[in-house]
Symmetry: C2
Subunit: 426 residues, 2 copies
């Protein structure tokens, strides 16, 4: 019988922490550990490139700084566990494997590593009787992962959806007030919210890695992150927000996965979100996750999904758990491909040179794929030479719609490829 015993409130000696990566999150972790003096935890080593430039005075003088990760990972190093905050698949993956193989628990915020190699690394941790914790890997400072693992394990979660990328949410919520994508992206880059190459964020690759992690923890389904369709937000324009407002919606990058009777659906991309939906609440760099359970219904988690300090809170909370002997429960899951396209209503925006017969041609192309037109929206005051207008269609499969839109894209009245987005039903 597995019997829970209370963890001791005063461990004999504290857990010695070796920190790899002293960037925004790493320095915030060190800051919290220094300021809060949490019992049972002691920062002993910090590894970072160019350590002379990184070294700060407020870290205790007893901490050993090194440029050499091997020194931190050495079996005799004064580090009982390793915090990995470098990110990316390699060399972070190799470091995490070495730590786990040496029986040292690892705390990481590395969503990419966990999305792609989580199951393998968890098995390695089990094999070597240590723990792999990654509460910071999804939605930073929002306790979604501990909430799901410790508070919703009694439910059967059938859907997970959310706003998992703060950069996209910053861009799209700034576009609500009429700005164009390129302007807002430049502003986000100036503020440090977006990388010089923003592809990872705006193309949805970051969000789908996080969605894959949530699917494994909440829905107990493991999918290869790259098999989740990710559509970029780059084609969304100010005019789309104007039309979305007419539909009482806004636009957000939504990550969405669902377990239906016939299979698994998962997609990331810009979507129309009704203003009354919780998903419309998040602005700026905030994140949000909504889970739907068979027994408990919808649960909403929201807050600061990124940033040094919020992410560091999740890392330090994992450390506190380890100090109290509280790890993660072994989570059973099954590998399953993304196999289902849910039938959902869509929004399609066209930019055309106006002439008679356009609506008829579009309606015909949609009908050829069995798609029913729902509404046609056209704001007054646009010139016939470059006329944006919007069609909404009744629930249909994304692939059928895409075939119809590809056929329409060949038509001579179009000035640019149409933009289609799912409409979230709530």
């Amino acid at each position: 019988m597995a019997k829970a015993t209370p963890a001791s409130s005063s461990p004999v000696s504290p857990l010695r922490i070796g920190l790899i990566g002293f960037g925004t999150v790493g320095s915030a972790v060190a800051r919290i550990l220094s300021e809060s003096a949490l019992s049972g935890l002691e920062l002993t080593m910090i590894a970072n490139r160019d350590v002379a430039r990184k070294r700060v005075e407020w870290v205790s003088s007893s901490v050993h700084w090194t440029e050499n990760v091997d020194e931190l990972l050495a079996p005799e190093a004064p580090a009982d566990l390793v915090v990995e905050l470098v990110g990316g698949l390699e060399p972070a993956g190799e470091w995490v494997r070495r730590a786990l193989t040496a029986g040292k628990s690892v705390v990481t915020a590395n969503k990419k590593l966990i999305a792609f190699h989580g199951p393998e690394l968890e098995a390695l941790a089990r094999e070597h009787s240590c723990q792999l914790l990654f509460g910071a890997a999804v939605a930073g400072g929002i306790p979604v992962i501990p909430g799901i693992e410790h508070g919703l394990s009694g439910d059967r979660i059938t859907r997970v959806e959310g706003i998992l990328n703060g950069t996209c949410n910053f861009i799209l919520s700034a576009m609500e007030s009429g700005a164009e994508y390129a302007t807002v992206l430049a502003d986000a880059q100036r503020r440090g919210y977006a990388e010089a190459d923003p592809s990872e964020d705006v193309c949805g690759w970051d969000a789908r890695a996080k969605l894959a992690i949530l699917m494994r923890l909440a829905m107990r389904i493991h999918v290869a992150p790259e098999t989740i369709e990710a559509r970029p937000i780059t084609a969304v324009s100010a005019v789309d927000f104007a039309y979305a407002a007419e539909l009482d919606c806004t636009i957000r990058q939504i990550a969405r996965a669902e377990q239906t009777g016939v299979g698994v659906a998962a997609v990331v991309g810009p979507m129309l979100v009704p203003r009354r939906s919780p998903l419309a609440w998040s602005t700026g760099t905030e994140n949000m996750v909504v889970t739907t359970g068979q027994f408990g219904g919808e649960v909403v988690f929201s807050g600061h999904g990124a940033g040094g300090h919020p992410t560091a809170v999740a890392v330090v909370s994992d450390l506190v758990n380890l100090a109290h002997g509280l790890g993660r429960a072994p989570g059973a899951f099954r590998a399953e491909p993304v196999s289902v396209e849910p039938e959902v209503p869509h929004y399609i925006r066209f930019l055309v040179r106006d002439r008679p017969g356009i609506v008829a041609a579009i309606a015909q192309a949609l009908a050829a794929e069995g798609i029913n037109l729902n509404a046609i929206l056209q704001k007054p005051g646009c010139c016939a030479e470059s006329l944006p207008f919007v069609v909404t269609v009744e629930p249909c499969r994304a692939s059928a719609l895409r075939r119809a839109v590809e056929a329409i894209a060949q038509m001579d009245f179009l000035l640019e490829p149409p933009l289609e987005m799912q409409i979230v039903e709530k």
Copy 2:
């Protein structure tokens, strides 16, 4: 050194569960345990009054039903842990004490017991090397307690506020559309959302017990629940919603605690909430908790705070944790009285027989307490014989305002006592 070791994924024999209380939540717990067949958990005993009437066919025939709680609590009973879902201080408290003293872990949804006796019962659990889990005691199906304990322990939480009573939220959000309190209360009673005697809910006693629990877990401050000021929602009227709308607010029963530099503030009561605040999002019987941390900022948890199945999800999640050997970390806290009144803006609604000089008299009474008047709102179309109007005042202490309002209440133009409410600043 405290070192986390991974829990075994296949315990040798399952935890045998003795369930006390087969009401709405208890039967939902049994339902989930029956349907989900969670590994490591086995329902073996159910105790309830009038068991013949309660017995259901869908519970496994191997479960032993009894009317006698003593039988379930006997040392030799086939129950390794006890789930207490009866509620109230006694006899539930005695049963929980007996189970813990016998070294049997307890899972309970009993907010009153945990608010009033949590520290004593936790000490008892520690003494007897077992666990006391109560994830369902606050906000039912929303994993606020596990989120705070496992995901925010790395932060220093300075404020907790929320909507902790579904009955009041149902009543107040229904009143938004113009209905009066008495009508909506009767509807809530018909639907089973409110008790025949609704005092526990509408007077704020239920919410303050939950607030006391959250304060202990999140802010690490233990206050006696009865020392938290609780103001009833009973005096809120449809006209208050009309005036609140003019201030771009709605009205909710808010529970709010804050740790300031000089002490602890805590209060429960109807308050004006800006429409843009997360606290305005919850409608119907939903609950919401917003924590504010020094490092991670605001985190919002929302969902179904009550009801059989959502609450049962929290209970079963606690059972899953125990089956995996994951208990609660010992939480340090200090006893501290509620000692501070934050200075906040207020709303005061008067019902008067109109005559010249009323505003002057009110302004004078407020000025005598050093309170600055902010705005005067008076909707057109009311008759002078029974004229409601509203005054908002700049941030002041509730006690100073109350003295001013008591002075005003003596004035001859008043038709009923004024109603004052805090305005939540966001």
